[in-house]
Assembly symmetry: C2
Homo-oligomer: 346 residues x 2
């Protein structure tokens, strides 16, 4: 197995604003693992607020020595080794996990959704995020652009503009809406009042309403809330899931947080076994990481896989938007093809 990589900068179609930060690009690192004439592709997406950089990912990738492994399908053993190289570095680990899944799937000759026993068409509608804007007419215009392509929209809330945003969208459409508060509400009674108001406005779920460590207040809120409450910042990896039972209604699994597909599938299994809901989310990513996520989105409660639709220089063809759902391709592995020449120079 030969691992190589290259940094790549995603060009965002619209300036992305969250919690006071704005940016026009998202840095990623693309990975490739070659074996016996086959190539598996992976990706680490590195939005700045998560603490990994192209340099830190490449630093991590340089430490990996796959020469001790002869069979790329032995994912459990190889990925346990990779996980043990350093703590954190979850996006870097995901870049290896995804490339290895792509390679193993190509060796076996099947897409992962099939090996997971799933129906690739039985996936939730993906949410599409309507970005915050001070001008209501801009919000209405963004919303109109999404109509017909998406069956559920997502709005970032948790600030002073919440009601105005929702009202502006509601003046254009009554599609179901998901909201992500990104830890924005600090008081549980205020959060509950907001959620009750949102429920009346046709909102169907709430992500991370309060600060990630404020679990006692979130547990109270989940108990009182008429809408399901999902953990995002409060959940990262498999070991986080159990203690969130009874705190949140469900968890948002993201490959870049949890080290990739293998751990994501375990988290999905664990959460469901504990009676929790499950959604799958993403960063701004190419169709490489989005296609990987699409392999395990079947049967989940919500999907937020619009990441590759937000960029202008996607270099992979893979999972596609069909009738409001992100559907995996029929190709083996994660189901992608490179659409341009990429130099994986290491």
């Amino acid at each position: 197995m030969k691992l190589s990589w290259t940094p790549y900068d995603l060009q965002l179609n619209h300036t992305f604003t969250i919690s006071g930060f704005s940016r026009k690009t998202t840095p990623v690192v693309l990975t490739k693992i070659e074996y016996d004439g086959l190539e598996g592709y992976g990706e680490a997406s590195l939005p700045p607020y998560l603490g990994e950089t192209q340099a830190s990912v490449i630093e991590f990738l340089k430490k990996i020595d796959l020469s001790g492994f002869s069979d790329p399908t032995q994912l459990e053993e190889i990925l346990e080794y990779v996980d043990g190289i350093a703590i954190n570095n979850t996006a870097a680990k995901a870049a290896v996990d995804i490339a290895l899944h792509d390679l193993a799937g190509k060796i076996i000759g099947a897409p992962w959704y099939k090996m997971y026993g799933l129906d690739k068409l039985d996936v939730p509608d993906t949410t599409f995020t309507i970005g915050i804007d001070p001008d209501d007419e801009v919000i209405r215009e963004k919303t109109r652009e999404a109509l017909g392509r998406f069956n559920i929209l997502k709005v970032k809330v948790g600030g002073a503009d919440d009601k105005r945003m929702i009202e502006a969208i509601r003046s254009v459409t009554d599609l179901p809406l998901a909201v992500d508060a990104n830890q924005g509400w600090k008081d549980r009674r205020h959060a509950l009042e907001m959620i009750q108001w949102l429920k009346e406005k046709g909102i169907v779920m709430v992500e991370q309403p309060m600060p990630k460590y404020d679990l006692d207040n979130i547990a109270w809120l989940t108990e009182e809330s008429p809408l399901p409450i999902f953990a995002d910042e409060s959940v990262q990896r498999l070991h986080d899931v159990e203690r969130l039972k009874g705190v949140f209604s469900g968890i948002n699994i993201k490959l870049m947080k949890c080290t990739g597909m293998r751990e994501a599938y375990k988290m999905r299994t664990l959460a469901r076994a504990l009676g929790m809901k499950v959604m799958i989310g993403c960063m701004t990513e190419t169709s490489c990481a989005i296609s990987a996520a699409s392999q395990l989105s079947s049967g989940l409660d919500f999907a937020d896989l619009d990441g590759a639709l937000l960029i202008g220089n996607d270099c992979f063809d893979g999972a596609k938007l069909e009738n409001g759902k992100i559907i995996a391709s029929d190709l083996p592995g994660i189901g992608v093809k490179l659409t341009q020449k990429i130099n994986f120079g290491r």
Copy 2:
């Protein structure tokens, strides 16, 4: 997909005695699912103390209508339907689950251990059970027969003969021993004294020391015990696992109890995520069900997969005993071939 079946009676090499019952045969039902020129095989093993019979299995199989499903690889959906047909009937459900896994693996063209990302050689030594006998010389002779073939033996305890059995085996070998008390100890202090004595005699694990619902006393025993304590009768399906955390050190997963490979893999994932140990066990079964179990035995703490070695009329070739371990074949699906003509007459 066409499902067919036939009853089959396993001839035991030795009379099998457990908790006062003796028998020379184990009834099973063999299943076959045909699709597009491929055949998947399954098995329900029906030791009398578990409550299912060949008649009840066939009754259940007759209720199954697979005509609504076009793709046998969509295991999640198909097996959810099968599970919903009736409560219990876990061995009957396993017979469908195993045949469907065999078929899906043949369609995909890979053995399941590969799709699980596992190394088929990285499995625990299988235990081999030395049957209870009033004559110490018979025990010594049975033990001698097992030497060289097995690296760990298993003894049924929980009765008045415990120490005599162990001493008889120890007079022949110092191989590691596992013990299964089959709920036999009723007093926790007596159980702890026995376990402390067993620890000194080189026993490495204890299965189901006390009655299955006596969880408070078992939790105390696990806390005090110098040996890991595994749930067998106390655990059946996925929903049982969570409440056993902190009660037992680990769980014994058996396909016939848990409805088959799909739920077994979820139980394995859940138990490990909860920090519990995992072993995989069996009934007396042909190499069909044993091969299915062998697909997911990699990386577990213990394996008790001697079921097909105890019968004289195994009609499948599949997973094999190699250096004390039951190792899956390289064939796709569960990795078996029929070794004789079986008429699946429905």
